[in-house]
Structures are given as structure tokens and as C-alpha cells.
């Protein structure tokens, strides 16, 4: 069974944050152990958010940041970004050896964190093994849901074909306040689920087993 936890990201996860306000955003890559420390100038990465070019709501651009490890430290590539208001930044670490990282930042639009999803944030997880995954908010516990990951019969060529097609289709869970839609989701192994947080009080998307809840 794999584990999902927006507080502790792995190669099968992504974190994305939309930046709606112009200004300078500083962020750092850390681990859950460093969550309470302030973002200091040294070691912080920056995102310059320019005034938007008048793109309509929901038409923002996506910018990707690759998370790696250098000299024992988590590093972002590119270290500086210039984006426009309304754009979103996605962080991901394709190296399976890099585990347990998170993104924490602050700017004119407020603070953001993969360990406390507040506003216009996205967490994604690719489910690699079948099973029933109950996820909860490990911070406040006000939202939860279930993802059922089905196995397929790989001896069946038709199922294999459908599986390959399904891999290209993401599934989405929308969270707005205490509302989760859908609360239960069924996918096949290998599919990616996107949790899109419109507005929340700093939640996590965490496997219930990691949060001390029931599976």
C-alpha cells in the first residue's frame, strides 16, 4: 500500500499553488520537522508575481519547479521564478529517493504551505497499489474522503488497453470549506487524483493511517 500525505511529499505527489496577488513570494523546501521555523532570507527561493496581463479567471499559466537534492539539501530548479498574477506553480520531485519534503512560503497574498492547504492550492497523488484509502485532514479533521483503487486483470488485453487509457485521465476532488466533492472516488492503480482546495482553514490531505484514524 502506498501512503498519501500532503505534509510529506514524495515522487508520486505534486503540490501546486495559485498566486493571485502581485508581489514577491518567498518560499522554502523543508520537511515536516522544519514546519514551525520562520522562512529566512538565506536558503529561501523567490517567485516574482507581476500584475496579470488581464487573463480571465481560470486561465492562469502553470510553472513547474523541480525539487532535487544537492549537498544534502533540498533545492528548487529554477530557484527564481517570474510569473503573472493568476498563474500557478507546481512543485514535484521525480527522484524516488527524495522523500518527506514540503513547500512553505509567504507573500503579499498571505502564507501558503503544502502542509496546510488554505486557498487555491492543489495536491496530487498517483496511486500505485490497489486498496481502499481513507484520507483525512490531519490538522483540523473537518474534511475526509475515500479513494478506492482497483486492480485490473493484466491477463486481459482489453483491460490493459482501458488501463493505459485511464492513466491519462486524472480524477479530481474539490474541497471548499467543509464541503468535499466527491467524498468517494474509484480509480485504477496508476491513476492520479487531484485535490483542488478552493478555500479551507489550512488542511492536509493525509492517509488516515498516518493521522491516527481508521483505515
Amino acid at each position: 500500500m502506498d501512503m498519501l500525505d500532503s505534509r510529506s511529499l514524495r515522487y508520486s505527489d505534486c503540490f501546486m499553488q495559485k498566486f493571485a496577488m502581485p508581489g514577491t513570494v518567498r518560499y522554502r523546501l523543508t520537511t515536516p520537522a522544519g514546519a514551525c521555523l520562520p522562512i529566512e532570507e538565506e536558503g529561501a527561493y523567490t517567485i516574482e508575481v507581476a500584475t496579470g496581463a488581464g487573463r480571465p479567471e481560470g486561465e492562469g499559466r502553470q510553472h513547474n519547479v523541480l525539487v532535487g537534492r544537492k549537498d544534502g539539501r533540498l533545492v528548487a530548479d529554477p530557484p527564481q521564478l517570474r510569473i503573472e498574477a493568476g498563474d500557478a506553480v507546481l512543485w514535484h520531485a521525480p527522484d524516488a529517493a527524495i522523500i518527506g519534503w514540503s513547500v512553505q512560503g509567504e507573500g503579499d497574498g498571505g502564507a501558503f504551505s503544502s502542509a496546510a492547504l488554505r486557498r487555491e492550492a492543489v495536491y496530487t497523488h498517483a496511486f500505485g497499489t490497489p486498496g481502499e484509502y481513507k484520507w483525512v485532514d490531519a490538522n483540523e479533521g473537518r474534511v475526509s474522503g475515500t479513494v478506492i483503487v482497483r486492480m485490473l486483470d493484466s491477463r486481459d488485453a482489453e483491460q490493459c488497453r482501458k488501463w493505459l487509457a485511464a492513466l491519462e485521465e486524472g480524477a479530481m476532488v474539490e474541497i471548499d470549506g467543509d464541503t468535499v466533492k466527491p467524498e468517494a472516488l474509484e480509480i485504477v492503480a496508476g491513476q492520479t487524483v487531484f485535490w483542488a482546495v478552493h478555500k479551507a482553514g489550512g488542511i492536509t490531505i493525509t492517509d488516515a493511517r498516518l493521522a491516527g484514524g481508521e483505515n
Binding site: 508520486s12 505534486c14 493484466s154 479530481m172 492503480a189 496508476g190
Partner: protein
């Protein structure tokens, strides 16, 4: 004419051999070897039970319908990337209402198949018949009548290999099932593993493991100090000791075949 002649028929001989073989536990074996394209480490224990004893002149004791009960722990390790194709999840895109169309980066997840270890345990009997030669000898102040196996008996290992291969398939499926993203490749991977090993390779490895328990097998049928007390001291008389000067063992054919032990001694 020897000072003592003792004889045992096959019924008594069976009892003697069963007692003797039970007193000599077979030491456990461990090692490693190749199993098809994979590496295998193993440890095994065994015990032998004797069916019937057949005396054959001039010095052979045939143990027929013997059973070697073995217990085998096999650990097979291999690099899954040797049998599974390279695989990357495709790019996935969705439309997020407050952002627009977003995509996880292409080739964000390429599966690096790990090296896995499959533990397999198997116990079972193997039947065999073997001839043992009588070998009387004086060693460390003791006369021994040892039985030394002649040649290497044929072991029918095919059924055991088939059972172990099936067990490997089950264990492999279990070990593989926890590897992320292997789902669609699971059945093929199990088939690839068992096919790569094959009955022939497994039978060969099983032969390497099981045969040493039997080949060169030696156990002691009879053991007696060369010098021993026959009457304890009873003052004023001293203890009476005798020395066994020679000991011979053979199988003789009279009205039935018998194990004959001949001893010369001096007081």
C-alpha cells in the same frame, strides 16, 4: 576361531540400524547458488528414517524405502528491471476551476523496478534406497562399526521441484503486490519469474541441496571401547579388564543373510 561371534538377522539388523541412524542427526546445510538467472541462498535441515534392511554378502547393508525428510528455506533475490519493461506514467491533465488546465509534468513518475527478495519455505520427503558398506575400525580407543554409503542414490526430486516452483509463484505474487505501479505487470512478472527459473534449474539446485545430506553419509552402527571393564573391583580382587584386539564385521549367507561380528580379546 574368534573369541566371540555375534550374529544378527535382518529383523534385528533393522532395529540396530534404526537406533544407530536416529542417534546421528544430520548436520544442517546452508549455501547459495544460481537459480536460472537469479541468485538463491538457502538453508536446510534433514532427517532420515529407515524402511527395511537387506543384508547382502559380503559386506553390504542395503537400506530400502528410506525417507529423507527435509526442510528447506530458500531466499531468491533478483532485479525486477531484468524482467519488467521500463515504464513511465503518462502526463495527466485536468481542469482546475480556479486555475485552468493543469498537468502533472510528463515522465514525472518513471518506475524504477527494485530488486526484490522472495522467501520460500518448503518441507517434504524424498524416498531413496542406498547400499552401505561395513567398515570396522579402531579410532581413538574405540572400536567402531561404521556404515559408509556406497555411491550416490538416485533422488526423485521432480515432484518437489514442481511444488517449490508453485510456492515461488505464490510468494512472488505476494512480494510483488506491494510494489507501487506493478499492478498491470503483476501476472506477467510472476510468470516471467517462474518461467525463468524453470523446473530443470530448480531440480538442479534441489539436487545440490539435498544430495549432500546423503552422499558420503556415514553413521556408526556399533561402538565399543577397546579396553573396558567386565567385572568391577571387589577387594581383594582387582577389576577385570579386557582388551578387544580385533573386530570384524561382515554379511554371511547361511540359511538367511546375517550380520556377523567377530571379536578377539585378551584379558
Amino acid at each position: 576361531m574368534p573369541d566371540i561371534i555375534a550374529a544378527a538377522d535382518e529383523t534385528a539388523g533393522t532395529s540396530l540400524v534404526q537406533t544407530a541412524i536416529a542417534a546421528f542427526p544430520i548436520p544442517p546445510q546452508a549455501g547459495s547458488g544460481s537459480l536460472g538467472p537469479f541468485n538463491a541462498a538457502w538453508s536446510a535441515t534433514a532427517s532420515v528414517s529407515v524402511g527395511t534392511v537387506d543384508f547382502r554378502p559380503p559386506n553390504i547393508i542395503r537400506l530400502a524405502n528410506c525417507t529423507l525428510n527435509y526442510s528447506l528455506s530458500l531466499t531468491i533475490s533478483f532485479d525486477l528491471s531484468n524482467i519488467l519493461p521500463d515504464f513511465c506514467l503518462p502526463q495527466v491533465c485536468v481542469r482546475i476551476p480556479f486555475i485552468g488546465r493543469v498537468c502533472v509534468p510528463p515522465v514525472r513518475i518513471c518506475v524504477n523496478w527494485p530488486t526484490i527478495t522472495i522467501p520460500v519455505s518448503h518441507s517434504g520427503p524424498v524416498n531413496f534406497t542406498a547400499d552401505f558398506a561395513l567398515n570396522p575400525n579402531l579410532s581413538g580407543g574405540f572400536w567402531n562399526i561404521d556404515l559408509i554409503i556406497v555411491g550416490t542414490p538416485f533422488l526423485q526430486l521432480g515432484p518437489a521441484a514442481t511444488a517449490i516452483l508453485a510456492a515461488i509463484g505464490v510468494a512472488a505474487a505476494l512480494a510483488l503486490s506491494i510494489i507501487p505501479f506493478i499492478g498491470p505487470f503483476l501476472a506477467g512478472a510472476v510468470l516471467a519469474i517462474t518461467a525463468a527459473i524453470g523446473i530443470a534449474a530448480l531440480t538442479g539446485l534441489l539436487g545440490q541441496i539435498i544430495t549432500p545430506f546423503i552422499s558420503g553419509m556415514t553413521f556408526t552402527l556399533y561402538k565399543q571401547p577397546q579396553l573396558f571393564e567386565v567385572l568391577p573391583a571387589a577387594p581383594p580382587d582387582a577389576a577385570v579388564l579386557i582388551t578387544l584386539d580385533s573386530l570384524a564385521a561382515s554379511v554371511r549367507s547361511t540359511d538367511e543373510n546375517e550380520l556377523v561380528i567377530e571379536v578377539d580379546f585378551t584379558p
